[in-house]
Structure formats: C-alpha cells, structure tokens
Symmetry: C2
Subunit: 293 residues, 2 copies
Amino acid sequence: MDLQQYLRRQAERINAELDRLVPPENAPPETIHKAMRYSLFAGGKRIRPVLALAASHAVQPGCPGIEAAACSLELIHTYSLIHDDLPALDNDDLRRGRPTCHKVFGEAMAILAGDALLTAAFQVLAGLACGDGTKVRIIAELSSASGTVGGMIGGQVHDLEGEGRKPDAELLDRIHRAKTGALLRASVRIGALYAGATGEQLAAFSKYGAHIGLAFQIVDDVLDVEQSSEALGKTAGKDAAQQKITFPAVYGLDASKVMAARELDLALGALAGFGEEATWLRGIAALIVRRTA
Amino acid sequence: MDLQQYLRRQAERINAELDRLVPPENAPPETIHKAMRYSLFAGGKRIRPVLALAASHAVQPGCPGIEAAACSLELIHTYSLIHDDLPALDNDDLRRGRPTCHKVFGEAMAILAGDALLTAAFQVLAGLACGDGTKVRIIAELSSASGTVGGMIGGQVHDLEGEGRKPDAELLDRIHRAKTGALLRASVRIGALYAGATGEQLAAFSKYGAHIGLAFQIVDDVLDVEQSSEALGKTAGKDAAQQKITFPAVYGLDASKVMAARELDLALGALAGFGEEATWLRGIAALIVRRTA
C-alpha cells in the first residue's frame, strides 16, 4: 500500500465513522443536523483524525474503536472552521470549495451548528470503547488543546488581536503553536493514548506533533500567498488583506520554506526510535510540507 | 439555616470555585478571559450548580470536590446565554442587568468566549476529584443534555424555527423539555452521580429534575409577560415581540400558573422517598415556582 492509498483508506474509515456518530439529516431538529453534516462532509482531508490513526498504528496496530477517538478531532476542527468563517470573525464565503455554513444556513444556525459539533466531540469521547481512565486522559487532552491557554481558541484570540500589528516573531510563534499546533499535536497524542503508548513513546509523539504542527502552519501561510482560491478551496490572499501576522510576513517566502523543511527534519528525528510501524507518520509529515493545497 | 441563607452560601461556594477554575483576567490572551469572566460573574443566581450541590447533599452530605462538577453546569449555561444574546440569535442588549457580552467585547470575542466556556466545562469535568467511571458518566450526561437530540441546542433550534408559527402544545413541550429542561435535569443528576446515588435514587432525581425544569420554563414565560425589564435584569416582553411559542401564548396566563403549581407538586412527589436530606431540593423547587425574577 502506498501513502496515497493509505490516506484514502483512512479518510474512508473516518468518513464512515463520522456518518455513524452524527445524527442523520432527518433526525429532528433537522436543520441543525443538516448544517453540521454540510460542513463535516465537505471533503476535508481528515488530516487530524488520520494522524490519530497513524499514531495509534505506530503503538499498536488494529486498535478496535480508535476511529471514534480520531473523529472527535474532526468534530472540533470543523466547529472551529464554521465559527472562524462567520462575518464577525474572518467573514469568509468559501470553505473547502463550497459556500460557508452561514452562507447556506444563516448565521444563527451556523453558530449553533458549531456549538453542537464542539459538544458532540466530548459526547463521542465519553462513549469510546476503551477504559475509563484512557477516556478521561483523552478528554483532558482535547479540551486543553482546544481551550484558551495555549490551545486553539487562545491562538485565535492572539491572531485576531495581532491583525494590523507589526509582524513580530514571538507573537507569530505564540499564535501558531496554539492556533493550529495544539490540535495537531493533540491528534497524534490522542491516537497514541488510545493505543496505550508508554510515557517515552508519548514524549516522542508530542515532539513529532509539535514540529508537524508548526510545519503545517508555515506551509499554510506560504500557500495563502502563492496559490489561487480555486486550488485551495478557500479564499487565497486573505492573510495579507487582513494584515495577519504570518511566516512570510515575518521571515519572507524563501526563509519560510527553509523553516518548514527544518521542522520536517525535526519531526522525523523525533520518530528515530521507531521502525516500520511509524512509516505512515513519516509519510504524513513529508506530505504536510510538500502539499500544494 | 433557612433557605435564603443556604442559597447564599452555596452561591458563594460556586463563585469561589468558578474563580479558581477559570483563568484570571491577566492570563494571556487577556481579552477572552475578561470576556468569559464578565459574563460568568454578572450576578447569576447559580440555580443549576446549586441544584447539583443540593442533590449531592441528599445522597451523601459533604462530598469533597462536588463544587467543580456543579460549576460545569454554570459554564455551559453562561456560554448558552452569550451565544443566545448575539445579534444573529436573540439580539439582546441586556443580560443579568448589564450590557450583553458582545455589546462590551464585540461579536467575535463573544462567540469565542462562549466556545471557550463550553470547552472549559469539559476540561473541568476531566479534572474532577472522583473516580474515572463517575467522571465519564458525568461527561456523558452533560454533553447529551447540552446537545442537539433532546438537549439544549436542539431546544434552541426548535425555538428559533417555531418563531411566528401557530402556538402548538406539542411543539411547546418539545422546545422546553430540551431548551431549559434538559440542563436543569442534568444538574440534579450530575450532583447525584457525583455523590454515588443508587439507580433508584437517580430515577427519583430525574423525575424531580424534569418537573422543576418544566416549572422553571413556565414561570419564565409568565414573568416575561408580567414583569418589567428592570425586575428581570433582561429585556421583558421579548417572547411576544418575537412571536415565540410560550406557555401563556398556548394556554393563557392563568392556566400556565396552574400548570406550574402542578409541576411543583409532581417534583415534590418524586422526592417522597427522601427525608430531611432532601429539604433543600424541596425548597428550591418551591422557590422556582414562586420567584418573581
């Protein structure tokens, strides 16, 4: 199986599980289930849940029920996209190549659909097939990575408040470690926790996760400058328009690309103690840096 | 100790614990912690957490760490108020007698502050002092009571979609069992679960919770008609203005009051198997029906 095949199969596993976990469109109240599913099944790459699957595979291949743990990450990610796109925040009309949730369902329903996906993530984790102690560790991990102190929401606030400010390396680092980095790192850790990783393994995955998280954001910033909206499936060039603090704005395009490559090296280095069981994690890291959308 | 004294003391316990659980205003990013605390410490009555404390007392007086479990309910309740007040939803300027969160901090920060309080509720539960099995049951309870299927968000959607429709007893029942009822019922159940209630005790509390939940909403609807905005600390008369489906709209004011009294009787009946240890639960039920704000 090559990496593309692997990724396609894992995305299918995740899509099937998401479909099972989220109430059907005809379950009342129908509108909100339609809105949740509209954004959830918009063809995302499922990078966070796939990272969780790949990390669990590296610890213990074939963990029954790991898909649900992985899906919690996509539920959180999708809620954050819906709320981020709202007129009061990024005011974006296009996401994953389609009109954003509030454009289709209205702002009220988009706010509630985001709230519902966030709530569903924890409901899913409470129902995992693993032991209670593992569930609690995973719930602590996800809530902290999504929260205000060093987590996703904190990063969004720093990002909002940074708009229009002088580009600043320290603020940039703080924004991105939190805004995208925390959830990507949590994806790897949650997969590993579910599979029963040792403390040493978990430390290695945390390092790997932090480096690919940073690489992911650098590449995202570069693509926002270099790619078209069509290629990205979302509005390109928005960072500059909104005077966001980005890696290209602080370091320039070329230096940003060098930094992304360095983060990839560090991520691969963190996996040095693993053998073939970490093949997919290595492949995903490389793909994150080399992607074009 | 009389009921008023009891309620004051429990509210103080809750306020102290909330202060401990939520990052201080000067923790970065400061703005969101300020926004969260602005809405959290606006002088709410803490009815949900106090119900959890009173239920835990009825099972096992003096449960160490129960305050944190109780606070999770106030975190969820406050997030729902912040999002409900947004221009896209109820568009309200006044809450608990003060300008609403988005009026003070802007819409973007109000959306994120709501998200952050919702996330914090589950972070708090993952850190409870009880056993992992109890934590998981409480997390399942809270997420389900806050969700789309029979939970708070589902009730809000039914409510939004009911605006302007012909008043209808069945829809009214569905809205309120979910919108306010589910979280009030969960408050009692979470307190009882934390204290290690038996199945039989839990069933009695669930009944009690469902009846006071309905009573609470009937009285809320009546007060919206009869009271001034000053007395309520929020905009009065909004239900009629927004053509909401309410108890007075469906049954008339007098019949609504009779129904509230009947729900109180049923709630007290559900506690028939308890002795003095349920005194506070009985007092709170009576207060819910007799309150004037």
